[in-house]
Symmetry: C2
Subunit: 98 residues, 2 copies
């Protein structure tokens, strides 16, 4: 779990928004829940790519559940390794979105 991968993953506002939603709820059923972020439509293939980047950065864990995918936040694990990092990043985005 490398800091550069985490920062890169969250340096994209769309991915940051997706991760915010996942970590806010702890777990989000179905990737298609992110088909629209803000007011922007995200194509399936792009969405798949974004989820993959978040997964490979160690930010989320995905498990198949029937025909869809459950996206779990790995916030606590990341926070254990890099204390305060996630909170500061999501906090910064929250500032801007006010």
């Amino acid at each position: 779990m490398r800091p550069e991968a985490i920062l890169h993953a969250l340096s994209d506002p769309v991915r940051a928004a997706i991760f915010t939603q996942i970590s806010g709820q702890g777990c989000v059923e179905a990737c298609s829940a992110f088909a629209v972020v803000g007011d922007k439509a995200i194509p399936k293939s792009s969405l798949s790519h974004h989820i993959k980047v978040l997964r490979e950065a160690g930010l989320i864990r995905c498990e198949r559940h029937g025909v869809e995918m459950r996206n779990h936040s790995r916030c606590s694990e990341v926070d254990q390794r890099f204390p305060g990092l996630i909170a500061a990043i999501l906090g910064a985005y929250a500032q801007v979105r006010v």
Copy 2:
């Protein structure tokens, strides 16, 4: 000053190392001080680009001083806008470098 620009700027380990040094000292005389990062040689043109990314993200301020450039950290300004962000990011990189 946008979070995505800050994260993008610091998602590159070379830039993160440069910024760590600048903010550790508050101000670094001459960009050429970063000609070698870790054990890796950085070409002038790449260095110039990295400094520009850090500057445009609002992380540093550069002023010409004679023939060279003084690179000042803008840590405190960033911290005022996005509390804890810089500390958490540099802390994460420090973890890894141990």
